[in-house]
């Protein structure tokens, strides 16, 4: 029997998709009105299935078998048609593009309630309220497709809110957004929580952004609950979180590492940079910790003796539109052989356009790209593919063969690799990404993370001297991000290749990149050693980039002698004498 004041109640729920793939096992969840539940877990842990189960997408769109009791806003979504559930529950998905299909924001917001026959005046009232809440007032007549990523997702959220739901399910709503877009969406969600009327269930990989919102945290691993409780209870177990493939928020990680010496583990959920810095300062003053600034030497300047492998000379790229957009404005830079370069910046700053120019996919209207001093325009498509490999964001744009090994053979044949070399290269590429066992599997049966690895393997097999990864962290879980970054690192170290990685993940790029380029509005805003770039906090603000958490803590501890070029937690621990080791 379900208690009446519970907005969501799941009791011993097990769900299997058709084909007996068990997605959820023995799940229990109870959430009251106004409660905010955060669901964490690696890709494939069952987070999206839980969203589908709550919203009635299973069994009405995806079939399967369920055991146990489910009640959402007083309904069992299994027993009523989807449109009935939609009167009480709204669902927001990862990709805003697929949720916006009307030509104006006004009609987009009206679509749902109009389907349910809600009176016109009521629809208009709800639309005004929803637009105000997501701060999109005044854009009613704009086409949703013209909005920025963050605006699109807020528009999609507003379109859900006009359904006047009691329960809101948010399935990784920020995973495809840049930092500004994520902040905008999280801010809108926070306002919803503050109103206290909605019960919200949100899945995410971005633990930092939900730490202060969550009332209850659920961590899934292979469909089972491995941790459940308040944020303090869950985030106080970083080892268990890591084992489940969930990122411990960097600040919580640092605090838990420093806590045994510096203070109590209570209040991890609302910990701030200042508190952690204060704890460390207290410990240093009490002699429990000591600062060894020399433990992390300053970053080395780029090796000018290395030959230039890629050069952008006064590149300008304009897209005709409508509306016309200038993506790159007079960009000049040199990439030296063997560098590991990070490229960051907001969506629309020109990152993808720049690397598309590097890979010969785009011809700039002005300027040119040189590979080892030779204009890229003189090289054939095959010639470029052998020298410069670009792994695009979405692997599904390239996969089409019946097996993973065939997918890799395709590129090798196109560039004319001799027959006797093809098979060893296929095996080597699959080994590099850890997909040997799946060599004969249909690529679309792989998980999204593995499909990305296959796309990387197909590129690496061509043996390029330059490997470029375009946002490998987007829609990827914590573990998957680092696996891809590790692949890039190994390719860089073992083959001496030059690597360029575009990402929004500053913690990841701080760990891997020697050099960092920040693009802003089609121009190079900053370019230098990664640590030095992250030290320029005021300049970074122009591009809405916030330095890594460890760098923020180090900056707060600068008066104690912590060097400002500390940018990773490991470097911080080394300076505090918590680990032994050489230079980063």
């Amino acid at each position: 029997m379900v208690s009446e004041d519970l907005a969501i109640s799941l009791s011993d729920v097990t769900f299997s998709y058709e084909g007996d793939v068990v997605a959820l096992q023995g799940l229990n969840l109870a959430a009251r009105r106004g409660e905010f539940v955060v669901v964490l877990g690696a890709n494939g842990a069952g987070k999206s299935t839980l969203c589908y189960l709550l919203s009635g997408i299973v069994p009405h769109i995806y079939g399967g078998r369920r055991r146990g009791e489910v009640s959402v806003a007083g309904l069992d979504p299994w027993d009523v048609p989807l449109y009935e559930t939609s009167r009480r529950l709204g669902v927001l998905m990862q990709d805003p593009e697929v949720q916006l299909f009307m030509p104006t924001l006004r009609t987009e917001l009206a679509f749902g309630p109009a389907n349910l026959g809600v009176p016109r005046e009521e629809i208009l009232r709800r639309s005004r309220e929803a637009l105000s809440l997501v701060r999109l007032d005044g854009l009613e007549e704009h086409n949703p497709r013209d909005l920025s990523g963050g605006q699109k997702q807020r528009a999609a959220l507003a379109a859900v809110l006009t359904m006047d739901p009691r329960v809101l399910v948010l399935d990784e709503p920020t995973s495809q957004l840049d930092p500004l877009g994520r902040w905008e969406v999280v801010e809108a969600i926070q306002r919803l929580k503050e109103k206290g009327e909605l019960t919200i269930v949100m899945t995410t990989h971005e633990t930092e952004e939900v730490l202060h919102l969550a009332d209850q945290v659920l961590v899934l691993e292979q469909g089972r609950t491995v941790l459940q409780g308040t944020p303090a209870q869950v985030f106080g177990q970083p080892e268990r979180l890591e084992a489940a493939g969930v990122k411990t928020p960097a600040l919580v990680h640092i605090r838990s590492r420093v806590c045994p010496v510096a203070g109590s583990p209570e209040g991890v959920a609302d910990v701030t940079v200042r508190q952690v810095a204060d704890d460390i300062r207290t410990s240093v003053q009490a002699g429990r910790l000591r600062i060894d600034a020399a433990a992390v030497p300053p970053p080395r300047p780029p090796d000018a003796a290395r030959p230039t492998i890629l050069e952008a000379r006064r590149l300008s790229v304009r897209y005709p539109g409508p509306p016309p957009v200038t993506a790159l404005r007079d960009v000049s830079l040199e990439i030296r052989q063997g560098e590991f370069v990070g490229i960051i910046g907001q969506n629309g700053s020109g990152k993808s356009t720049l690397v598309k120019c590097f890979a010969g996919l785009l011809r700039p209207q002005e300027g040119e790209v040189l590979f080892r001093g030779e204009s890229l325009s003189r090289l054939s498509v095959g010639g470029i593919a052998r020298r410069i490999g670009l792994v695009l964001q979405n692997p599904d744009y390239q996969l089409f063969t019946a097996s993973c090994s065939e997918e890799i053979r395709f590129g090798l044949r196109n560039v004319g690799v001799p027959r006797d070399e093809v098979e060893p290269r296929v095996r080597e590429a699959l080994r590099l990404v850890g997909l040997e066992a799946q060599a004969e599997l249909f690529p679309f049966r792989l998980s999204f993370g593995d499909r990305r690895k296959l796309a990387v393997a197909a590129t690496m097999a061509l043996g390029p001297e330059v490997l470029i990864m375009d946002e490998p962290t987007t829609a990827q879980d914590h573990r998957g991000r680092y696996q891809l970054a590790e692949l890039a690192r190994r390719f860089h170290e073992e083959r001496g290749a030059t690597v360029l990685v575009i990402t929004h993940d500053v913690d990841l790029i701080a760990r891997y990149a020697q050099r960092l380029i920040v693009l802003c509005e089609g121009r190079v805003l900053l370019d230098g050693a990664t640590a030095e770039v992250f030290m320029q906090v005021e300049e970074l603000k122009k591009s809405f980039v916030v330095p890594p958490v460890a760098a923020q803590v180090a900056r707060a501890l600068a008066p104690l002698g912590v060097p400002p070029h500390v940018i990773t937690p490991e470097q911080l621990y080394r300076v505090l004498g918590l680990v032994q080791g050489g230079a980063a």
Partner: protein, 269 residues
């Protein structure tokens, strides 16, 4: 890349026009282009095309969009001009003589003036036929289209399929471009292949991922729609209040007048 024939919100008399008047214009255009084909049709077609051009201009639609339509059709136009130039049965005045190859009544070695003219008539006919629907779509919001079709008692599902097809068309173009780029990165360059090679083998690496992606996208689309109550057994609320004004009747009269004039030109000569 933005889709070329997409609704753009601009305040013009054509945008404000009642959708049923615009729909009447589209349907009458189809009637005009379905008149029996004759070489002497050019004046009728040019009259209707000129009327369409006026509507495009009043709707403040950039010439670039018309140029895009022309570019899409350019290949068809060249084909029609050549095929009619060489094979038109009524052709007897040589324009270009490449040789002589008699096949029934036609001489396939000669491009005739009458053939090229007839080809031109067909090209203009296609241009007339294809220029009306983009005007309707670019100046009428989807909700107004749905309301208008609802008033014509077209089922909501059919109307929504029409609207969805419009948005899927632009999606297909975007995906096509991304897939071509992705395959180019593996040295598979469809743009550099000749037509025969494209037809024989090139489309598999492009069309296979396109179909798989479209299936996935259609699935996401279905989720987004159905979780917003699409298909509920209630009469959907009409958001757009589309009521006829005096201006709508005047525009309708103008459309009918031009249509009547074209019909007179076609049959009264």
């Amino acid at each position: 890349m933005q889709p070329v024939f997409r609704y753009t919100h601009v305040d013009t008399p054509i945008h404000r026009l009642h959708p049923l008047v615009k729909l009447a214009y589209v349907l009458l255009t189809l009637v005009v282009v379905m008149y029996p084909i004759q070489a002497s049709d050019m004046i009728v077609l040019l009259t209707w095309l000129a009327f369409s051009a006026v509507l495009w201009a009043v709707a403040r639609i950039e010439l670039a969009r018309f140029a895009t339509l022309f570019k899409i059709l350019a290949g068809t136009f060249v084909f029609l001009l050549l095929i009619q130039g060489f094979t038109y049965r009524g052709g007897h005045t040589p324009l270009i003589t490449l040789g002589h190859l008699k096949l029934w009544e036609a001489d396939l070695g000669v491009i005739t003036v009458e053939g090229v003219w007839f080809g031109l008539v067909l090209c203009v006919r296609i241009l007339v036929a294809t220029s009306s629907l983009p005007l309707f779509v670019m100046t009428t919001p989807a909700s107004a289209i749905m309301t208008a079709l609802g008033k014509l008692r077209v089922p909501q599902t059919a109307t929504f399929m029409f609207i969805s097809a419009l948005s899927f068309t632009s999606l297909i173009f975007e995906m096509w471009g991304s897939i071509v780029e992705a395959q180019k990165l593996r040295a598979f360059d469809i743009d550099s292949m000749n037509l025969v090679k494209r037809a024989v083998k090139a489309y598999v690496p492009i069309i296979t991922p396109l179909i798989l992606l479209l299936f996935r996208r259609a699935n996401d689309f279905q989720i987004a729609m159905e979780t917003k109550g699409f298909g509920a057994p209630v009469k959907p609320t009409e958001i757009e209040v589309v009521s006829a004004r005096l201006a709508d009747y005047l525009w309708l009269a103008l459309v009918l007048a031009v249509f009547a004039f074209c019909t007179w030109l076609e049959f009264a000569r």
